[in-house]
């Protein structure tokens, strides 16, 4: 008996979503197979790899990154342009760390102004992330949506608490893309997509953020949530789960001990930069083969590694 390739055909397919406008717009999703299972069917668009910047000085970031950005970080738009021109990621993810009510509490109006400047300064798509304070984020996203009208920005993300405001502004009043954020649970992901579509946001304007954790910090739940969501989207042809997934890996991996500990504190462990990249690359690779269609990273070396990996998997 000779070997025959084992093929699994599915009914379902992930929708295709476009981020940004013009020549540098990026399409994600469109696959009808598990990640890179080209022997089963079509693997869709290339996984998009974006880079994170923030609206304040990157104080807690690696020394190496603070140095790389020292001439640009005081002007967020210049920072965005620098990242685009130097590292050529697929998109920029601007996170409003400075808007956190427990921190600097930058007003939503100011965030909108910054977002607009950034969107005008770059050609690649813009993803905007909030503060994790859902009330504040609703205000930020409402203002940002208006200020960046026409740029087809992804607002990351609407949650169960604020989806009405974020969905109405981002997905209806202005035609942006709406992120739907749930906490590592297939049912919550499904429910939020249903709520957003009932509100009037079209499925093709939704991108899911289904939760993330650094490897070693509850990642087993992340991995299984991805598997279950994808198998339901393909195998059961569940339309309410056929949105592409974006995963902000860097938001998690730079906050755990393995990447935070200084070389003085842990002399045996070696270069902090290496450890930080390692954790980012490992987590990103793991979500990549679990089904993420877009990934947010912080370190240029991680971006290089993950893009090479994607290119060699397709």
């Amino acid at each position: 008996m000779a070997f025959k390739t084992s093929v699994q055909k599915y009914q379902g397919r992930i929708g295709e979503v476009t981020l940004g406008v013009g020549e540098k717009a990026v399409k994600i999703g469109g696959e009808n197979t598990l990640p890179f299972y080209s022997f089963d069917g079509e693997i869709g668009n290339k996984t998009a790899v974006g880079m994170e910047i923030i609206d304040v000085a990157p104080e807690g970031w690696l020394d190496e990154l603070q140095t790389a950005y020292k001439d640009v970080y005081s002007d967020t738009a210049a920072w965005a342009k620098f990242v685009q021109d130097t590292y050529a990621p697929d998109f920029i993810c601007l996170r409003f760390e400075g808007a956190d009510p427990n921190g600097m509490d930058r007003p939503a109006e100011d965030c909108a102004e910054i977002a607009k400047k950034v969107a005008d300064a770059i050609e690649i798509p813009l993803v905007v992330a909030g503060t994790n304070n859902h009330e504040k984020d609703a205000k930020i996203f409402e203002k940002v949506a208006a200020a960046t009208d026409g740029k087809n920005v992804l607002l990351m993300a609407a949650t169960e608490d604020n989806y009405k405001a974020v969905g109405a502004a981002g997905g209806m009043a202005y035609s942006h893309k709406v992120g739907a954020e749930s906490s590592v649970d297939i049912n919550l992901a499904k429910q939020l997509n249903i709520l957003l579509t009932q509100l009037g946001v079209k499925p093709e304007n939704i991108v899911m953020h289904v939760g993330c954790a650094a490897v070693g910090y509850g990642f087993e739940y992340v991995s299984s949530t991805f598997d279950r969501i994808r198998l339901a989207a393909f195998g059961q042809n569940d339309k309410t789960l056929q949105m592409p997934i974006i995963t902000p890996v860097s938001f998690e991996t730079w906050n755990v001990k393995e990447s935070l500990a200084s070389e003085e504190d842990e002399p045996l462990w070696g270069s902090r930069e290496d450890r930080g990249i390692a954790l980012e690359v490992s987590t990103a690779s793991a979500v990549l083969v679990s089904g993420a269609n877009a990934i947010v990273l912080r370190h240029p070396e991680s971006v290089k590694t993950i893009r090479t990996l994607v290119d060699q998997l397709i």
Partner: protein, 451 residues
């Protein structure tokens, strides 16, 4: 047609003697039917029934035992493709490549790294488990490397990666007490290789240019009645290795074809082409997608902290409690003046926090209420780590009798609970700690000095 647990049960001796490790013959039969164990594990089966069953009930993927003593490992034996279906049982293992082209200095440095990167994470030891001796033509250096590693005292299992039968035999002679893996049977040498492997009962790795050829080779080796096998997923391109690893596992588990029902070997180092971060990326994807032994170029903490943490997550066993018992734990010999620090009963959180307190050397009472076994924020969001739950547990746990200190440190991530707790605990001062555990040692030392 697959046999059911009951079909199998009818053919067991029905003695319920537990020699198979199961409480009853029926329980054992159910497990056999699920592909989780071999029928041969019942020592009391009649010859006749055994031969009836052994072919039809053999697990879809063979479990191999390799290495010896403290360095013995099980590989394979998986029954599902996704971890939400059932626990994955035998975690993948890492082999550091020791090549005959490595200088003595390089070999020594690799050995030192293997010894150095050896730590505990959440109660589990993390270290590189294998040395993979790779032969490319220099026999003298090859044998010298094996001797150097053996003499180094590094705790390892071994893999002889060598297609030259005569050299392999010599290498195996040095390693014969360690139950090594022999890797390198090809279409050209497999008959001799099978003989060598069978003589020592060593697990044998098979290698071919394509999946079709590998399938043919495996069929031939199986027909020589040797079934202690590993399959090399290939290392020409990343795409090929990924495809092959998935095809091998799927063919066995989904299609029930035992020709591919063996653990895999993936030479991640060759695929990564001397790029450490690519090696980490590939080690991660093959930890999720079906690598059993991953060969890497070298070991350091960047690799260990990331990839082994991922592996620990993917192979968590839901059967082993991930919770710790709610109570007031004494850390660093807490006494009647030590402050109280509060966290949740999620094992991961407990191990991390306990480790950091130990590192600070500050005597501390670690108070752990019943928080549903969740992480700090998960428990808080689920209403299982509220101000009243913490306040009540301060009273119930008796910690008020154990220490005169009335300082209660709470995780920074639940700073909002401060007011609630203080309202229900007159006389106590609630101190909001840092967000991340790694800031705890400094925080505790400062607190201690100012006390």
């Amino acid at each position: 047609m697959a046999l059911t647990g009951l079909d199998i049960f009818k053919l067991t001796p029905k003695k319920n003697c537990k020699d198979c490790g199961f409480p009853t013959c029926l329980a054992f039969s159910m497990k056999v039917a699920a592909g989780g164990i071999e029928i041969e594990k019942c020592p009391h089966m009649s010859e006749e029934n055994l031969s009836k069953l052994s072919e039809s009930t053999a697990p879809p993927m063979k479990a191999l035992t390799v290495g010896a003593g403290a360095n013995e490992y099980k590989l394979g034996g998986e029954t599902v493709l996704f971890r939400h279906e059932e626990t994955l049982v035998n975690r993948n293992r890492f082999a550091v490549a020791i090549k005959d082209t490595d200088s003595a200095d390089v070999v020594n440095s690799k050995i030192e790294n293997i010894k150095k990167v050896d730590f505990e994470r959440i109660g589990e030891r993390m270290k590189a488990e294998f040395a993979a001796f790779i032969y490319t033509g220099n026999k003298e250096a090859y044998i010298a490397n094996i001797k150097a590693v053996l003499a180094s005292g590094a705790e390892l299992a071994y893999m002889v990666v060598c297609e030259d039968v005569a050299v392999a035999k010599e290498a195996l002679e040095l390693l014969k007490d360690t139950n090594p893996i022999l890797h390198g049977a090809t279409a050209a040498n497999y008959e001799q290789m099978v003989d060598v492997a069978a003589a020592g009962k060593y697990a044998l790795g098979l290698r071919a240019d394509s999946l079709e050829d590998l399938y043919e080779l495996t069929s031939k080796v199986q027909s020589k009645d040797y079934k202690e096998l590993l399959l090399d997923a290939g290392s020409k391109t990343i795409k090929e290795a990924y495809t092959n690893a998935i095809q091998i596992r799927r063919t066995a588990l989904k299609d029930g074809d035992r020709t591919f029902g063996y653990p895999s070997i993936i030479f991640v180092n060759d695929l990564a082409k001397d790029n450490k971060f690519m090696e980490i990326a590939l080690s991660s994807i093959f930890t999720i997608k079906y690598g059993s032994i991953l060969v890497i170029e070298d070991m350091d903490f960047a690799r260990g902290h990331s990839v082994w943490a991922l592996r620990q997550n993917i192979y968590t066993d839901p059967q082993r409690p991930m919770r710790v018992e709610p109570k007031a734990y004494s850390v660093n010999n807490a006494n009647d003046e030590s402050p109280v620090l509060c966290t949740v009963d999620f094992a991961l959180t407990y191990f991390i926090i306990n480790g950091e307190i130990e590192k600070s050397k500050v005597p501390t009472w670690l108070l752990i209420p019943d928080a549903g076994g969740y992480s700090v924020l998960t428990a808080w969001a689920a209403g299982k780590f509220s101000g009243s739950i913490i306040a009540n547990f301060v009273k119930e746990s008796g910690v008020e009798q154990k220490t005169k200190s009335r300082k209660l440190i709470i995780p920074g991530k639940v700073a909002v609970l401060k007011g609630d707790i203080e309202d229900s605990l007159p006389g106590w001062e609630v101190v909001v700690g840092p967000n991340e555990s790694m800031q705890l040692p400094k925080f505790l030392k400062d607190l201690y000095q100012n006390a």
